[in-house]
């Protein structure tokens, strides 16, 4: 018996392949190169199958392909656990599914998988451009789905694309409702996300050269929006880390458990006035620390305050993260120093850097106060031929501070901060290195401060009697322009600003049009991050609270269902209206009524079954009804096919025969 085997329409296949490559594109730089090869082979294979040249892979080949894909990922990543290997596995499965695409059903599976692949891109970035691109891929995948239902088109046409566009536009209202109202659950389970991506930004230890290497990057670290006036650039010291311990030339911060229990909470700080309010949207760092101005308090849920007056997130920042803070720059922080704290902030390695120690002793001997000592060290830095540079050269000796102070005299901010803190500690002044960012670019478009990685900075804090912790920036003594105008100005003569990134738009700030475009896009990104990406559970709750008052579960469910009804009602109305109201003649109507009654007892007439064939079947199944059914069938046949005759009388007879017909339900 010959049978009709449905193939995937040519048109749909073209769209499927196009959407597969579109879905692969954003992952292309992350995945091993051989995965791209898998895609090309899969597509060529499937096209050859469609042309009738090759055949679908057999079972053995499929097993081999699947296993080699699996072990290939294992070999490339060293593991199949974690985000990148999992996504790579998914992408390979996606490609291999193409070569076993036989029927329309298989194409459904592939395309629904395509929507899922599209989502995985957001695990890596939630950038505005990525979102726009994802909309593009969703349109492509939907077009392929539509094309599956438009078979028989011999030429490639855009009609599927149009229809898909219209359908997605129709889905837009529902999308908006879901965005605002769908309950935002916390993660139901956690996977080791991004085990293979590098942590970015500051790390929790610092050795000479770390900040300088960070300054090569033009990536955005975070964006800040101030509630009021933006403070001058020289006041924008974004504290992220405090390094209190020097060991073998490396400054590091104290671990959570290295702080005694009594010192775990920050001391109360007397504040006066309103302070400066601002909100920060951080780019993902995979680290825990948040950046703020001294002395900062955050009201955002989940933000912790550390004993060295920083803000801290218990979980690493894995996606764009927004928090609010309020700072009081003029307040006196920690006027009384505990014994433990004083000891910690004075501790130096017992040996090494003798030159620095004796220099500090000499300077301290000449002045009569700690404040004067600080000033004298700063003027030492500015008077002696010290040089501020991104390329300080490597310090090779074990006494790095001595080597820097007396031999090279070339350094970036971390060299100066480190030397300053060392000298202060050696004369008994509690001091520590603070790392973070300094300054930032003001975007005139939306009045945000954009802080880039190259704004990374390190400075010092000294504790002075009666004044608490005071910020001292030795870099400002060497290169005042760094603080006033930023890194680019400070390095103008050296020409090393973003030397390794010739295409960075930040290098072309002098071109007004380009700069304007860059700033406008940055403003758009800020809007995107604060309104869409930052719309988390708290923001959702806040918004609903503002609009509808107290939110209980009942109100929420009502809102949720109500809005769906509101959006879907017009659709339902238009669908109902479209239903045809074709008149059906009484003869067929009653015969169909009879068929319906028969189907109630499980004997439905099949499509294409003639009345006589149906009768023959019924006679077999329900002999006791045969007589009635025969009469009805006979009358129908006569009326429907035998032409005009005694039609009027027979029709009435037929209708009454059908009306009085009742199948015996009990039988089934």
């Amino acid at each position: 018996m010959s049978s009709l085997v449905e193939q995937v329409p040519r048109n749909a296949l073209v769209w499927i392949i196009a959407s597969m490559f579109a879905l692969l594109a954003p992952h292309a730089l992350r995945i091993p190169v051989w995965v791209l090869l898998v895609y090309i082979v899969a597509v060529v294979w499937r096209i050859q199958v469609h042309r009738g040249r090759w055949s679908f892979p057999g079972r053995v080949v499929k097993v081999v392909l699947t296993l080699s894909g699996f072990f290939g990922v294992m070999a490339s990543y060293g593991s199949v656990i974690g985000l990148e290997p999992t996504v790579a596995l998914l992408l390979i499965a996606f490609a291999l599914k193409l070569v076993e695409l036989v029927k329309r059903k298989d194409a459904y599976v592939l395309l629904f998988l395509g929507y899922f692949v599209c989502i995985t891109e957001f695990l890596f970035s939630q950038d505005l451009l990525v979102t726009l691109y994802s909309i593009f891929t969703v349109v492509l995948v939907t077009t392929a789905l539509v094309a599956l239902h438009q078979p028989g088109q011999q030429r490639f046409s855009g009609s599927s694309l149009r229809l898909a566009g219209v359908m997605l536009l129709q889905a837009l209202p529902l999308m908006i409702v879901i965005f605002f109202l769908f309950p935002r659950f916390g993660p139901l389970w956690t996977v080791p996300i991004k085990s293979h991506t590098a942590k970015t930004g500051m790390s929790d230890f610092m050795k000479p050269g770390d900040v300088a290497s960070l300054s090569q990057s033009d990536e955005v670290a975070f964006r800040v929006k101030f509630a009021g006036e933006i403070p001058p650039a020289s006041e924008l010291y974004w504290r992220g880390l405090v390094f209190s311990r020097l060991r073998q030339g490396v400054w590091s911060s104290l671990g959570y458990y290295e702080v005694p229990a009594g010192e775990m909470r920050p001391r109360e700080v007397a504040t006066n006035g309103e302070g400066v309010g601002y909100s920060v949207i951080m780019e993902p760092t995979q680290q825990n620390w948040l950046y703020s101005l001294q002395y900062a308090v955050s009201g955002t849920a989940g933000v912790m305050h550390t004993p060295d007056y920083r803000l801290y997130s218990p979980g690493p920042i894995e996606s764009e993260y927004m928090y609010r803070a309020r700072s009081w720059p003029r307040s006196v922080v920690e006027p009384e120093l505990s014994e433990w704290r004083r000891k910690t902030e004075l501790k130096l390695p017992p040996l090494g850097n003798d030159g620095a120690r004796s220099l500090a002793q000499r300077i301290r001997a000449d002045v009569d106060s700690q404040q004067a000592f600080v000033d004298a060290v700063l003027s030492y830095f500015s008077n002696e031929p010290f040089h501020y540079t991104l390329k300080p050269g490597r310090l090779t000796s074990s006494d790095q501070i001595d080597e820097f102070l007396f031999d090279s005299r070339r350094g970036f901010c971390e060299h100066y901060a480190s030397a300053f803190v060392f000298m202060s500690r050696s004369v008994g002044i509690p001091a520590r290195v603070v790392a973070g960012y300094q300054g930032g670019e003001i975007n005139p478009v939306n009045k945000t401060v954009i802080v880039h990685q190259f704004d990374a900075h390190a400075w010092a804090e000294v504790w002075l009697e009666g004044r608490g912790w005071v910020r001292v920036d030795p870099t400002s003594a060497v290169a005042p322009s760094r603080i006033e105008w930023g890194l680019e100005e400070a390095l103008a003569s050296e020409g090393t600003f973003l030397a390794d990134a010739p295409l960075s738009p930040l290098r072309y700030r002098k071109l007004p049009l380009l700069n304007q475009l860059r700033l406008r896009y940055d403003a758009l990104t800020y809007q995107w991050q604060s309104w869409v990406v930052g719309f988390n559970r708290e923001a959702q709750f806040e918004l609903l609270h503002e609009l509808f008052g107290e939110i209980s579960a009942r109100v929420f469910i009502t809102l949720f269902i109500g809005s769906w009804v509101l959006v879907l009602t017009p659709v339902a109305i238009s669908l109902l209206r479209r239903k045809s109201t074709r008149e059906i003649n009484p003869l067929d109507k009653h015969y169909l009524l009879f068929c319906e009654r028969m189907s109630e007892i499980g004997l439905a007439r099949e499509t294409g079954e003639t009345p006589d064939q149906y009768y023959a079947r019924v006679r077999e199944e329900v002999p006791e009804k045969a007589e009635q059914v025969e009469r009805i069938t006979g009358l129908y046949n006569e009326l429907a096919y035998a032409g005009p005759g005694r039609a009027e009388r027979s029709l009435a007879e037929f209708i009454s025969a059908v009306s009085s017909f009742k199948p015996d339900r009990r039988r089934f």
């Binding site: 010959s2 049978s3 009709l4 085997v5 449905e6 193939q7 995937v8 329409p9 040519r10 438009q150 078979p151 028989g152 011999q154 059906i584 003649n585 003869l587 067929d588 015969y591 169909l592 068929c595 007439r605 499509t607 294409g608 079954e609 003639t610 009345p611 006589d612 064939q613 046949n637 006569e638 429907a640 096919y641 035998a642 032409g643 005759g645």
Partner: protein, 330 residues
């Protein structure tokens, strides 16, 4: 439209039966049994073939070699008592070999037309798809219009004129598949298939026996009887309900994505003609859906081509058609 006008004459008062005279029924039965005595166990195919000829259509018989194609076609010719000629199609057959050729006659100093084998009442075209498309096309005009044009002169063919062609399955080597335009001119395409084991045993038993000698069936249907059958066919009633069903079938072939091309109006008319003829052969004065369903595979399968998105053949499409279109208006 003329379908309904033609009803009155033959039908009379009776609705169910009596439209066709008992004479015709016995004639048809005699013809069937006469052919059936030569081609064993193929009664449905024989009836369909007769139906095709009663409906004035040309018949294409397709099957593997040795399945009885030629036997059937010869028997049909004999039963109708028609003047018949047989042409074995080969790859070097020329149009002139079929249509005829003008030969110079030195005595008259003029060209005389020597008519080819096509000038007959029944042309048996054996293995038609072994000839080149050029030769196949030579039959086009003859089949469609009952005339041939050779060297500018149009000559009418004797009436009735039938073509019974046999062909091997297209995928066999050395064949030129008939183009759609040619296929469409065949009212029906039949496949014979292997015989039923019982019939085949009968065949073995008859081998080398007396019965074997009877190779030519006797004539059962004369010209007047053929005319009577044709008159009865044109008198058959096709109700609105039935025509609705037929139109739904035709519309489905044109709209549904499985079909590359739908049934042409000629195909639709062929379906109606055959259904009516079948009704006559069932001794019924009106067409019922079963008639349509019975003739549909033979009438439609060679006219339907699956679209590029589907693999399959005309028979599969007819299957789909019968399963998808409801007899009663939905």
């Amino acid at each position: 439209m003329n379908v309904r006008q033609g009803v009155t004459a033959a039908r009379g008062a009776g609705v169910d039966t009596g439209a066709v005279s008992a004479d015709l029924e016995s004639i048809i039965d005699a013809a069937v049994s006469e052919i059936g005595s030569i081609l064993l166990g193929k009664e449905p195919q024989i009836r369909l073939a007769l139906c095709c000829l009663f409906a004035r259509g040309h018949l294409l018989i397709e099957d593997l070699p040795g399945m009885g194609k030629t036997t059937l076609s010869h028997a049909l010719g004999a039963v109708f008592g028609l003047d018949w000629k047989r042409v074995q199609f080969t790859s070097d057959l020329m149009p002139a070999d079929i249509l005829g050729v003008s030969v110079y006659d030195a005595r008259d100093a003029s060209f005389n037309f020597h008519p080819g084998p096509v000038f007959t009442q029944l042309l048996l075209a054996d293995e038609i798809n072994r000839a080149t498309p050029r030769t196949q096309s030579a039959l086009l005009e003859a089949m469609a219009e009952g005339q041939v044009t050779v060297e500018g002169a149009t000559r009418a063919l004797p009436q009735p004129f039938f073509v019974i062609a046999t062909q091997n399955p297209v995928h066999q080597s050395g064949t030129y598949p008939l183009p759609e335009s040619q296929l469409d001119r065949f009212l029906m395409r039949l496949e014979l298939g292997y015989p039923h084991p019982k019939a085949e045993r009968e065949m073995y038993l008859r081998r080398h026996s007396a019965a074997q000698e009877i190779t030519t069936p006797r004539r059962c249907i004369d010209d007047s009887q053929l005319e009577a059958i044709r008159a009865a066919v044109s008198a058959v009633h096709a109700s609105d309900t039935l025509l609705d069903y037929l139109q739904r079938l035709v519309a489905y072939t044109r709209q549904s994505p499985e079909f590359e091309v739908g049934l042409s109006p000629r195909g639709a008319l062929a379906l109606l003609d055959c259904a009516k003829t079948w009704a006559v052969m069932q001794n019924r004065g009106h067409v019922v859906p079963e008639d349509v369903q019975m003739v549909l595979p033979s009438v439609a399968s060679h006219r339907l081509v699956p679209s590029g998105d589907y693999a399959g053949d005309g028979d599969a499409l007819v299957d789909l058609l019968l399963r998808s279109v409801d007899v009663v208006a939905p």
